[in-house]
């Protein structure tokens, strides 16, 4: 490829990606007639529904990360150490959420865990929130598992475990004070990605009827003019921040390794 063609291709690409970003930003500043203003942001941020749904989704994202870590780190560790033959199976399962559309998974939840089932989770609002939490954990599984497994590959799990055991450490100590700190950067990358995914998630929250940020966004989009653009800018900032933090922690790790 010649340099001219390469530059041209990239220029076209930049144009395509810059326009919608410029469009939403410019649109979000136009609420007051004739001048640019931050009115749309002021209105959005002052909206109690925004505050409630944003807090709900942020809380769900954090709990999803905790549940995901508690579920994935011991599993990946155990498979690596004791059940290597089970590895393809576990890997296959963690890939399934990418294969089965989320809308189908949540459809299954609604039918399987309705009020007349053995686990009537959709019967109460806290039960439904719990179900949504598990749904998010399932969505985060592929990213979380891959990140943690890559992190484990970089350390000598067996030696660390045996050393800890010979010093008298129990399983909880090994997990919490040996393994987790060693894969922390990997876990954090998975965690930030999970945060971005949960904050923007729409289908599961909407179908389970939970007051999350995604359905609020959709509702605002259907009823307002300038606020959606402001919300899009905010959502883009969240995604950007999450990805930036991933890069930051990865770089920090390289730096720490080099120093040692």
């Amino acid at each position: 490829m010649t340099r001219l063609a390469a530059a041209l291709v990239l220029l076209l690409g930049v144009l395509y990606f810059a326009l919608p970003l410029y469009g939403m930003t410019e649109f979000s500043l136009r609420m007051r007639r004739g001048v640019y203003s931050l009115d749309a942001y002021r209105v959005v941020l002052a909206d109690p529904q925004f505050q409630e749904t944003f807090a709900y989704s942020a809380f769900m994202a954090l709990v999803t990360i905790v549940v995901g870590v508690v579920l994935v780190v011991p599993t990946a560790y155990w498979v690596r150490l004791y059940l290597p033959r089970l590895r393809p199976v576990v890997e296959f399962i963690t890939l399934l959420p990418l294969v089965i559309p989320p809308i189908v998974i949540v459809f299954g939840y609604i039918r399987l865990y309705n009020t007349s089932s053995f686990l009537p989770l959709t019967g109460s609002s806290s039960g439904t929130t719990l179900l949504l939490l598990f749904g998010y954990t399932v969505l985060a599984l592929p990213y979380m598992y891959r990140a943690v497994d890559t992190g484990l590959r970089a350390i000598d799990v067996r030696t660390l475990t045996e050393a800890a055991q010979s010093l008298g450490a129990g399983w909880i100590t090994i997990m919490g004070r040996i393994i987790l700190p060693n894969v922390l950067v990997a876990v954090l990358s998975g965690a930030f990605l999970t945060f971005a995914i949960v904050m923007g998630e729409f289908v599961m929250a909407a179908l389970l009827n939970r007051p999350a940020f995604g359905p609020y966004l959709q509702l605002t989009g259907a009823n307002k003019a300038y606020e959606p653009a402001a919300l899009a800018v905010i959502a883009f900032a969240i995604t950007w921040a999450s990805m930036g933090l991933i890069q930051l922690v990865t770089r920090f790790q390289k730096f720490a390794r080099a120093e040692r």
Partner: protein, 290 residues
């Protein structure tokens, strides 16, 4: 000293570490999906039936699938072509190395910037009152809708919007493959007298092809499962499979729960086949590119 009892205890201990994971995924991933699959073949009294799967041939359902497949196909094809072009420009274009970092970071952000906010961004830009739409009309007298029949809230608009996450995804997954093309292959080809074009046509492309096809399949599945962007962009006016299923789950618009299961089964099959194809093709390409 392995009596059957200690052996059994040993085995139980061995599996205890993965038991929570297996129980969790069984309850919240596999069983719910199986419930839908089985439901597609079961009458309300529990007998086996193929009626619901046959009923998928109804024109409105076939249309919904067909629109979905068309949108996924075109957004995947254009995403593959433009994503590959941009990745090649970045890796082999002879431009500054400083292009690479920002482009990959941006791709990571943009490939995750999907769903409702993405629809808002495009409405603000190319919607009926969008910035670009109004600018073209006032400065150049070009009316996208009247002159070119362009409507963002349509199949074409949806494809254009999906490209915003399809192209970056393509850049992210094809870049390692492009990096894997060894300089020696190019040198060997040029020593044997091949031109740049011949090198790409006879060496690089055949090696990249499984990778590229695998990425295409992944992009197809990615677009096929995208619900939020479509709903936020078009409301429920567009008849595509995920929107139809969404409406069915909310309010049984098809008037038959079994038919709803069959609709979901169709989505699982299409997404499963394309994803499986993508995983297989990309595993194949790794033989050359390591």
């Amino acid at each position: 000293m392995s009596t059957p009892a200690t052996a059994a205890r040993h085995l139980a201990l061995r599996w205890s570490g993965v038991a929570p994971f297996l129980a969790f995924t069984a309850l919240f991933l596999i069983l719910p999906t199986l419930y839908i699959v089985v439901g597609a073949f079961r009458t309300p009294d529990g007998a086996f039936t193929l009626d619901f799967v046959r009923a998928l041939r109804a024109p409105n359902i076939l249309n919904a699938y067909w629109s979905s497949i068309r949108i996924s196909f075109w957004s995947a094809l254009l995403g593959t072509v433009f994503g590959l072009a941009m990745a090649m420009a970045m890796v082999n274009g002879g431009l500054s190395r400083r292009v690479r970092g920002p482009l990959l970071t941006f791709s990571g952000v943009a490939s995750n910037f999907a769903g409702v906010p993405l629809a808002f961004a495009f409405i603000a830009t190319l919607g009926p009152a969008g910035i670009v739409t109004l600018w073209l009309r006032s400065e150049f007298g070009i009316n996208l809708r009247a002159h070119y029949g362009f409507n963002l809230l349509s199949t074409t608009g949806l494809i254009l919007t999906y490209l915003f996450f399809q192209i970056p995804l393509m850049i992210l997954i094809i870049t390692p493959a492009l990096d894997g093309l060894r300089r020696e292959w190019r040198e060997a080809a040029s020593i044997l007298g091949a031109s740049g074009l011949q090198y790409w046509r006879m060496v690089a492309l055949p090696i990249l092809l499984p990778s590229v096809l695998g990425c295409f399949a992944l992009l197809f599945a990615n677009a096929f499962g995208a619900v939020a962007t479509a709903i936020a962009l078009t409301g429920s006016t567009l008849n595509i499979a995920p929107i139809l299923l969404f409406a069915q789950i909310r309010g049984d618009v098809l008037g038959s729960p079994g038919l709803g299961y069959a609709l979901a089964l169709g989505m699982i099959l299409i997404a499963g086949i394309t994803n499986g194809l993508s995983i297989w093709l990309r595993a194949r390409s790794e033989r050359w590119l390591r």
